[in-house]
Symmetry: C2
Subunit: 206 residues, 2 copies
Amino acid sequence: MADKPRPKPGETREKLMEAALALVGKGRHFASLGIREVTRQAGVVPTSFYRHFRNMDDLGLQLVDELGLVLRRMMRDARSNVLQADKLIDESVGIFISHAQNNRSYFTFMAQGLAGESRAVQEGIRSEMRYFASELANDLRRLRVVEHLNDADLEMTCDLVVRSVAFSLTDVLGIAPDDDYQVDQVRKRTARFLQLIFVGAANWNR
Amino acid sequence: MADKPRPKPGETREKLMEAALALVGKGRHFASLGIREVTRQAGVVPTSFYRHFRNMDDLGLQLVDELGLVLRRMMRDARSNVLQADKLIDESVGIFISHAQNNRSYFTFMAQGLAGESRAVQEGIRSEMRYFASELANDLRRLRVVEHLNDADLEMTCDLVVRSVAFSLTDVLGIAPDDDYQVDQVRKRTARFLQLIFVGAANWNR
DNA sequence: TGCTCTTGTGTACAACTGTTCACATCTGTG
DNA sequence: CACAGATGTGAACAGTTGTACACAAGAGCA
């Protein structure tokens, strides 16, 4: 028997998730990944896969959970780093985009999952987006920048904001990571989207 | 591109494209389709595939072209059927959504392709969206509803509109085709998104 | 010490994959 | 008419796939 490096406890599970994410980051589509392919990338024997996941969809679902953590971290980061209220939009957008840059694989997975073939993954991601929108609504209420909007309209506004940002993040993913000029273009354009939306919200009286 | 002006309609070619689209409509993801799978669905022998496409990405690219036709038809439909200017948004959204309902497979393919693994398909779809946005800008200019916006701001506004509608169309795809209530919810919500954007545009003076 | 769980491994197999090749059929043009 | 080219077919290939099975090493516990 050849000596094995080390049989660590429960590390294989994470290796498999990272492997899938790595393949997605390399341009592959999650839906086209196979069990063998992932285990190969993880440096594990195919059979091990079944010790942790029932199938690929299962792995995808667990990735969605991890994605939730990433998003929450991003949100916390934005909340604690936005200093001036008048630069709220610019600074938040900057933070979101840099998170997308630093977690390309996760956000690529998110973008793929939105139209993915697993209904469960799809629903999971949409649920994360709804959560994000409702947290944003809370923040805006707290900052008293939208006092004239009723709850439903505020919720609608935040939903639109989140969708726009999400779409912009997929723009970033289509750009070479070091193409600072293009990334900056997306940043500016996204900020203007949000400004436009907030101008709309400020003048919203039905 | 237009490689078949003279020869008779290669029906196998279209059968293959329809087959791929049918599989996508059935919930499969385009990136996970195989050549054999598509030919089987088309009722054709695997070898025939190579008579018309070099590989799956090639087929995807040609589907993007067809998708362009669908989008153009949708646009023309909206232009000729919107009767009252004050109902422009509601009627347009209604038309877009019913087109999405009647061409579910195409729009599912579009949603998938936006984050797909073929950079070319991705770029093709984004290009269709840009075209759509620029046509919308023309229309708005013609209708004189945005006379105070400069070209760049108008273009930005239209881009945001197109993105929002596109996102909403993916919402529709996640709903059972006959769930009229939910579809109507999406319709109303999308219309409000656009109203919000246009209120923003109307009050946009930097 | 034994017993049972959990995790990881190696082997095996039938089914399926993409692609090639040689051959059949059809269609329009010289 | 014959012939060239486009289109479709079937058999064949080597490689990959998902999954089942039996087994080994360690952990926790009586």
